[in-house]
Symmetry: C2
Amino acid sequence: MYNFEFRNPVKIIFGDGKIASIANEIPIGSRILLTYGGGSIFKNGIYNQVVKALSGHTFFEFGGIEPNPRYHTLLKAVALIKKENIDFLLAVGGGSVVDGTKFISAAVNFNGDSWDICAKGAVIKSAIPFGIVLTLSATGTEMNSFSVISNDSTNEKLAFGSPLVYPKFSVLDPNVLKSLPKTQLSNGVIDAFVHVLEQYLTFPNQAEIQDRFAEAVLLTLIEYGFDYVLKDFDYNTASNTMWAATMALNGQLALGVPSDWATHKIGHELTALYGLDHAQSLAVVLPGMMEVMRTEKHEKLLRYAKNIWNLSEEHDEITIDQAIVKTEEFFQSLETKTHLSDYNIPESGIEIIIEKLKKQGKIQFGEQNALDENRLRTLLKMRY
Amino acid sequence: MYNFEFRNPVKIIFGDGKIASIANEIPIGSRILLTYGGGSIFKNGIYNQVVKALSGHTFFEFGGIEPNPRYHTLLKAVALIKKENIDFLLAVGGGSVVDGTKFISAAVNFNGDSWDICAKGAVIKSAIPFGIVLTLSATGTEMNSFSVISNDSTNEKLAFGSPLVYPKFSVLDPNVLKSLPKTQLSNGVIDAFVHVLEQYLTFPNQAEIQDRFAEAVLLTLIEYGFDYVLKDFDYNTASNTMWAATMALNGQLALGVPSDWATHKIGHELTALYGLDHAQSLAVVLPGMMEVMRTEKHEKLLRYAKNIWNLSEEHDEITIDQAIVKTEEFFQSLETKTHLSDYNIPESGIEIIIEKLKKQGKIQFGEQNALDENRLRTLLKMRY
């Protein structure tokens, strides 16, 4: 196990009816900016619950944060905050609204071009405090200090992180998942599943708690995922899936172990170039990643096959083949398509994706820098 | 799953050589009180590492905190803090030194009789900040907000908790475990193991992540426990056991599920009356708890039998019998004795223990208040 440091100060407020408690979490006298997305919170009653909870507080609103939140949209929120002397943000939404709010929080006091926070890893020195009412379970952003932002003018989708953008609190009421379309539920399960694999499916590093916790999250997502996506809303199913998605990326699974994140790097380009949902991009790339990295990931692939899919054939490579098939079938069972061609990407797109990634620097991805341009090409052709 | 709230802000600094980093964690200009126990830190070199790391800081020392830290000893530290205007504590020790330091931290600014913090659950309004250099892995106190204190004059051993006594940081360097006697290592594994069971072995509450995380900790303790206690020091064995013990009681396993803690309540009296080590008392009581609560804990006992010991007989009760045997054998394999008579407690002690517990209120322990005086008597006779 590698040395590590860990501190996650997010207050989680989990359960039925918990949105009402946000008023106690925001300092009295705060000037609050409510941030949200396309307006689904007006239809499903969450907006009303939030406004009722904020009764007596002064608040402003900023809606329209897109899926894959756009830098130029977020700058408008930054301007509003400066104009209205806002000092607390309340994100009401899913991963995109929360990630957008993290960026807003970091950008308000940033001197210079705030895109540098993502593009150049510029260090932020302060951030406006914010809380979260989560409306969609997927990215784990509600309990971590990371964010991914898209920039239309540069066609980039880039991440940043800082301990300053840990949410002060996150309200997780599983009832919010009741009205979500199937695609969003499926995206959530797959996103969480791949988050775990990015931290688990590397090479053994004698970190048994971390590996077993990772397996716990994977098995929970498999156990509840299908019912969560395809059956009528059930509180227990929703609460278990919701907590699994949070645990998938709160930092704990990555302690002392190598991390991969190559699937995410490639997936981000599929989203930036061809508009795939984040989870769709992961469902396309991941089976190929397992395939082309089967030598480097051999031991962990075998452990994954055995502990997650109960597979243990006489020949290791057959066991691994079957684990890859099981993984892809799991995504498909949640009605998510797993090939580039399913999303009407032309075959010529493969070279465009590779060129785009090359522009960011030498292609040398994964926990051992072993995914190079050639293997990436093999992977993408395989996933066409 | 029940509703829950969770916030654990402790900074964990884990790994080889990490004691040197404490200087960065303590505010410059602090007046520090180093707290420790019987002086083993002078023999194993930890004291020297700490003093070197504190070079340039002003610090005082308070040694002699006993195993099962004594209220009247801790009051002397409180007096020293007031006299010397100390504003930061650094606990260098195991569970007892840390628990004692938590009490000191809470008692300094407490108005009135500070034993009320334990005896009457008096709420503390402030606490002196403190950090930890852990020298013995067992109780999990390094990442939670609880503490257990003993009072000689009342013959009581009582717990208190407050978010104000979360450590600011905890340094966990597995190398500190190198020089520990076998008994202390064994105590550590058993203490952590029973902590998990107090939160897991109740009744199913549709909390899959929590149950699987609990199983992850149990399996890790079983996998590494024997080598940890009985073989020569190995860094990987030590680091996995150490992290398992921390994860056993950092609050996460208890989220949204019922908790028991009856084994601890009874065990504390064995320690207070007959001087058993904490873990020894748990090793004596726990197998009896499983036995007398087998109806209430039926489903969870079966899950425990299957997922931890791979047991699944045709008849449930036989499966449970075997799981209880396996548990006791595990404690014995770590060279810890599991019967009252092994510790030279007279048979007449059984009624003394019961009377002592009755004085604290009606005997109605466990997650369903189902352990009454009669069952307690059965349990203790069974464990004689």
